[in-house]
């Protein structure tokens, strides 16, 4: 299944992260991190705990501001953009610790994801004119379709907080997909999943990629990362120590050192 890695077009990167720095007080979380994610690849970001993966993630998605550097999505500068503007530019994310709208139904959660691609305001809502009704039923239909794609159609009317852990993870993905992203950024989507759920997730992510969406994946489950990703970058202490195909990264001495400790080498 791990095919066509070499043939992927590398001339036109979708996301370019250039020399991004970030420190919290005296602690350097990221130092001059650069990476490029090609269109329609699954790009893995791994590293030991505290390596700066989620920090980089939060910078790319606008929750943190960087101290320096540049982030571009399809030529659009993302740094200093508000999170909602970044979503507009085509970058959607999920959260490491699930952040669904707990007291909304699964369907409503995904419908909220359509917000950024729809436009009717207060007047439309009050008048409920034809265009608003059309938009509303389109939102509903698209949301149902997305729920179906992540196998949650039967849970459409359940409150998000009542879904099982694995279902919540997939609901978050459906909600992110509802924003029509070019790049879907997933922060540890397999965390807390059992092996069969992880396998389902793997299939789902392949399906999403097949539909033309690029995926950035932070993950601790090495088997998942190695099987799924086209390319991987490894962070350690805020620095990128390796980048390349799964096979390349697995053999890389610095990666082995980071994961197993220097003394063993």
């Amino acid at each position: 299944m791990n095919n066509s890695v070499e043939s992927r077009d590398t001339s036109n990167p979708l996301l370019v992260v250039q020399e991004v720095n970030k420190s919290f007080g005296g602690l350097t979380a990221l130092s001059r991190v650069s990476l490029q994610i090609q269109s329609n690849e699954i790009f893995g970001l791994i590293g030991p705990n505290g390596a700066g993966k989620t920090t980089l993630f939060n910078i790319i998605t606008g929750l943190y501001s960087a101290d320096g550097g540049e982030v571009n999505l399809a030529g659009q500068a993302l740094l200093r953009c508000k999170p909602h503007v970044i979503v507009q530019h085509g970058l959607a994310r999920t959260f490491q610790n699930i952040r669904l709208f707990a007291n909304m139904t699964a369907l409503e959660n995904v419908m909220v994801g359509r917000h950024v691609r729809t436009h009717r305001g207060v007047v439309g809502a009050i008048m409920r004119n034809t265009s608003t009704r059309k938009e509303e039923s389109a939102i509903r239909a698209q949301a149902l379709q997305l729920l179906d794609e992540v196998d949650l159609a039967t849970a459409a009317e359940h409150l998000a907080k009542h879904l099982s852990y694995g279902d919540q993870r997939r609901l978050e993905i459906a909600r992110a997909l509802a924003t029509e992203p070019k790049l879907l950024a997933l922060d540890e989507p397999a965390a807390g999943m059992n092996p069969s759920e992880t396998l389902d997730l793997q299939q789902l992510l392949r399906k999403i990629r097949a539909s033309g969406i690029t995926i950035l994946l932070i993950e601790h489950d090495m088997r998942l990362v190695m099987q799924l990703c086209d390319r991987i970058a490894v962070l350690d202490y805020g620095k990128k120590i390796a980048e390349g195909s799964p096979a390349h990264v697995q053999q890389h001495p610095l990666v082995i050192e980071a994961y197993l400790g220097g003394n063993l080498a």
Partner: protein
């Protein structure tokens, strides 16, 4: 997907079949609402029709605050300020204070607009605040507005200070002065009844707008912000604008209601707009069921009528115990407070919780089962 869709569809068909009984229910409700002031006057007296009028004003206020607190989850303790803005705008534009006598149809929309602007003025500096911090700032805002109104009689006399503004023009609609008893065929309609019908129309309008907003893209965005602001912004919601919109919409309801209040009372002073009023309106939506329109209406009705009913405590004591043992005014607020505490203990989500919370209660059992399942799986 099929089972989910099918379930939705059968639900829809059931709804269509029920349509006739729904129509009948609504007709009956309409009839009751239309006769209510006359029935009330017959059974309880004219003063209770006045209480009905106030109930409607409070329903409007509570529905306005419900948008800010119930939908968007922004705890606002200064909401009565918008009521004050609407009331003073009406009073200044239709009273001898400046010799202006604008018609009501010009003042009310303007009142809604100006109150909405005040809503944005309150909202803008508080965008990054939540919960108790927001509550303190809004509380301050409410007090500032009241103190301004209290002191804007020097150096230029605008609000007439603590004396308030009197001789406010009564509301006139199509040449009908609502302060005068009107005759329709054989029917004599007193002023309190006329105001009842006017307020009823506005209340229904505000209920309608509330419902429409609730089930809309904007309503979903408000609820999303209430649930998780960070996630909402990460889903592309411009949290700043959507929150300001909630403040503005809620405030404009308050502004309309305030204008109606000024025309109805004929006299207003800063004393009508104290922190206590803000808290009572907040109690209404908490007691009734935050975020649920029917609950909020119920809360407003109960909290307007209950304290008034307790005024009869003296008479009841006389009747039951032979003499008045405790000053009814002392007892009134005591019982009122006790009732609030008890209802919060036994109905923490409100008397009519929003469907979200109701669903939560229904699903609790199955969730327990689910949790046990997942625990079991983890142990394996």
């Amino acid at each position: 997907m099929r089972p989910g869709l099918n379930k939705l569809q059968t639900g829809w068909h059931a709804l269509q079949r029920d349509r006739r009984s729904v129509v009948i229910t609504w007709l009956a409700l309409g009839l009751i609402l239309a006769c209510l002031p006359f029935l009330t006057e017959l059974s309880l007296g004219r003063s209770w029709v006045r209480i009905l009028d106030f109930t409607l004003l409070y329903i409007m206020l509570a529905l306005g605050l419900n948008i800010v607190v119930g939908y968007a989850g922004l705890l606002d303790l200064g909401y009565i300020a918008f009521y004050a803005v609407g009331a003073y705008l009406y009073a200044l534009l239709a009273s001898p204070q400046f010799g202006l006598h604008w018609p009501v149809w010009a003042i009310l929309p303007l009142g809604a607009l100006v109150a909405g602007v005040f809503g944005v003025l309150l909202g803008a500096p508080t965008l990054k605040l939540r919960g108790d911090y927001l509550a303190i700032v809004t509380l301050g805002f409410g007090e500032i507005v009241r103190i301004f109104l209290n002191n804007l009689n020097t150096p230029y006399n605008i609000t007439n200070g603590p004396q308030g503004i009197s001789q406010i023009d009564p509301i006139q609609i199509g040449g009908i002065d609502l302060h005068q008893t009107q005759h329709l065929l054989t029917l004599t309609i007193p002023s309190t009844h006329l105001y009842y019908y006017l307020f009823l129309i506005f209340t229904l309008l505000i209920i309608f707008v509330s419902i429409r907003l609730q089930d809309s893209r904007i309503g979903r965005a408000w609820i999303a912000i209430r649930e998780d602001e960070v996630a909402a912004s990460a889903m592309g919601i411009n949290t700043r604008n959507i929150k300001l919109l909630a403040f503005a919409m809620g405030a404009s309801f308050g502004g309309i209601s305030g204008g109606l209040f000024a025309g109805f009372q004929g006299f207003i002073s800063p004393e009508s707009f104290t922190l206590f009023e803000s808290i009572i309106v907040l109690c209404m939506i908490v007691l009734g069921g935050m975020g649920n329109i029917a609950g909020v209406i119920l809360g407003a009705i109960l909290l307007t009528i209950f304290p008034e009913a307790l005024r009869y405590l003296g008479e009841w004591q006389q009747l039951l115990l032979g003499r008045v043992w405790v000053d009814p005014n002392d007892l009134r607020l005591l019982i009122f407070g006790l009732a609030l505490v008890l209802s919060m203990i036994f109905h923490p989500a409100g008397l009519l919780p929003s469907t979200r919370r109701a669903r939560e209660l229904h699903a609790r059992r199955s969730i327990l089962a689910q949790e046990q399942d997942s625990l079991y799986e983890q142990q394996r």
